[in-house]
Amino acid sequence: MTYVLGKLLHIVIVAGAVLPGVGAVMVWAERRVSAFMQDRLGPNRVGPAGLLQPVADLLKFIFKEDVIPGHVNKTLYVLAPVMSLVPALVAFCVVPYARGMAIADVNVGILLVFAISSIAVYGISIGGWASNNKYSLLGGVRASAQMISYELALGLSVVPVFLIVGDLNMEAIVRWQKENGWLVFWLFPAWVIFLISSYAETNRLPFDLPEAETELVAGYHTEYSSMKFALFFLAEYIHMTTASALSVALFFGGYELPFVTLPQGVWGTVLSGLIFFAKMSFFLFLFIWVRWTLPRFRYDQLMKLGWKILLPASLAIIVLTAGGVALRETLK
């Protein structure tokens, strides 16, 4: 009973406070960092350095009129933002964000993440379809094609990790890296593919075609307002958080630091959590940095990159890694 209650509390804290909190800070950071890059000030009025801006935004979203246009499919229209947010939250559950602190320390680990995050595409494509708007529909169609294409490359780019570590469990992968060094040093090309694909999976520039505002007005969420729009918005940021967390856990040693042994007990756990969040922040910053630097791909170029370059490349990396692992085993 206490175990169940403890888990429930853990879930509530992570899904109800930590992830939306990270999302909110990211919204603020995105605006401040982009302002810094563009010689602007950005939001700096609400609270110290504008830190309370997300709160103000949230209040605004809540008090806005919740419009459901007459021409939409009401059930799906209401369901779509939820379907977009929930997988984003759930996918985080297997990530060990501090020592022994994964919500679900399951042996299929990373496979679960891919299984769940592939549901997220339904939120976007159904949202685009249910809006009964041509721009939304185009956004939805683009999203489904894009996310399905890049999921392959994303999944395949992680396979070398399993080959080397020999385990799907995220904690095991982190432990392996503690003993043998970060996997990014072994699998740098695979990490690059993982990074590019995760940008496409989260619909961020240069792959933000589903919502390309200069082409499709706002893509799949053109017809959404108030909190429904906020849910889509939040889902994008939480997807980014999950992608960054995976990058840290799979390729950058997770919550551990090289050459440093963290103390046992509570303080060790807290420290490991801080290390994890620090590493994750770097990848989140990378998301922002890229967004405000690069132009957007075109649909066919995106497909070409996914199918003709990333997919064969990740297959080649798998073959090479498998060969290397086999060689290591024989030499033993």
Binding site: S34, A212, E215, L216, V217, R298
Partner: protein
């Protein structure tokens, strides 16, 4: 399916194709351009531009006012380069009246034109980059534009609606210290262009998005009447500033950059180079700035000084006649085309004598340049439409006039 039916919202024959209304309120149609796109998936089968949402009957309005009274209307033509429009209008009126302006006025007008060119290209390229997704380039360019606006404010008293020129010269001389401010701007400007070039010119995604897109061959460009950077992007070396010189442009030392392929990337490069050439012209204009009056000292053309009007009978009469009846134009017709940032902005005047034109016609480059759009976008993707629109760099205020 008939395009006319689509445009007029009449019931249509059932079709496999989807009709998408892009504009008049779409983020990347830059104003109130409406495109009716017939789509096969994301590929454009047919495109019909619908213009006229910003029509203000400017040409008709011009018939009921004196020459100087029309100047403020030109601020609203290509509203990204109001000063250049002012200059073009005044030059056209002076050609009709057959007068020549003093050298200092000419040099000031050259400064006006080139500042406008830089400012218009900054916005045009910035919006182009933003349409393709590069937001930062847009804001970096806007920061530079802000500096030009400050300069324009010092020069004319207004940032946007300048109305700075008059028949026979300019409204007032440059304020003290203006040339130093301009020099300071010109000195730092090329490095700022360099910054944006670092973001875009060799950026793989930018090149992929714009290379070999919307190709216009030199013959087509001439046949469709393209002018300005769009024409030069196709490799046709035509620049009114050199081919039909005015304001003494032939005495300045500058290059006319031309493209080689005629795609969106070439048009982008041509505009970047033109901004650099404009800074060269500005430098020369600052160096050589002659002294003397800034308007024709003929009381039948420009207003006499206020102090004289208050004291002298002749001047009082001249002022009264000029303000109420305008400059007396000889019967006849004239056309003047100026090399504006968007292309050749032409003013045609026909006069039957007196202070009001009998007919006035504006050849607006944006309107003419837009004609080729349906041909360019056919068979391309929706994303290409915004890139092509951005590279054509049009302003609806001028297109619809």
């Amino acid at each position: 399916m008939s395009q006319v039916d689509i445009v007029l919202d009449r019931p249509q024959q059932p079709s496999e194709h989807q009709v998408l209304n892009m504009g008049p309120q779409h983020p990347s149609t830059h104003g109130v351009l409406r495109l009716v796109l017939e789509l096969d998936g994301e590929i454009i089968v047919n495109c019909t531009p619908v213009v006229g949402y910003l029509h203000r009957a400017m040409e008709k309005i011009a018939e009921s006012m004196t020459f100087n009274m029309f100047t403020p209307y030109t601020d609203r033509l290509d509203y990204l380069a109001p000063l250049a429009n002012n200059v073009a209008l005044s030059c056209a009126q002076e050609r009709l009246l057959g007068i020549d302006i003093p050298p200092r006025a000419k040099a000031i007008r050259v400064i006006c034109c080139e500042m406008s060119r830089i400012s218009a290209h900054l916005l045009g390229l910035g919006a182009f980059a933003m349409d393709v997704g590069a937001m930062t380039a847009f804001l970096w360019f806007f920061r530079e534009r802000e500096k030009i606006y400050t300069l324009i404010e010092h020069l004319s008293g207004a940032r946007f609606t300048t109305s700075y020129t008059r028949v026979g010269g300019v409204a007032a001389d440059m304020p003290e210290g203006f040339l130093d401010e301009l020099r300071a701007f010109v000195d730092q400007f090329p490095s700022k262009v360099e910054e944006v070039e670092n973001l875009l010119t060799r950026n793989r995604i930018w090149v992929e998005r714009t290379k070999d897109l919307g190709v216009v061959t030199p013959a087509e460009a001439v046949a469709w009447g393209l002018t300005g950077p769009n024409l030069r992007g196709s490799g046709v070396e035509w620049d009114c500033r050199l081919k039909r010189p005015y304001l003494g442009y032939e005495t300045y030392d500058f290059e006319v950059p031309v493209g080689s392929v005629g795609d969106c990337y070439d048009r982008y490069l041509v505009r970047i180079e033109e901004m650099k050439e404009s800074t060269r012209i500005l430098r020369q204009a600052i160096e050589r700035m002659p002294g003397g009056p800034v308007k024709v000292e003929d009381p039948k053309v420009s207003l006499p000084a206020k102090s004289k009007v208050l004291m002298g009978m002749d001047e009082l009469i001249h002022q009264f006649i000029l303000v109420t009846e305008g400059q007396d134009a000889p019967p006849g017709e004239s056309y003047f085309g100026a090399e504006n940032p968007k292309g050749e902005l032409g003013f045609y005047f026909r006069s039957k004598g007196g202070g009001y034109p009998d007919r006035m016609f504006i050849r607006s480059p944006s309107f003419v340049n837009l004609q080729i759009l349906p041909k360019m976008v056919k068979g391309r993707y929706i994303s290409d439409v915004v890139a092509i629109l951005g590279s054509l760099d049009f302003v609806m205020g001028e297109c619809d006039r």
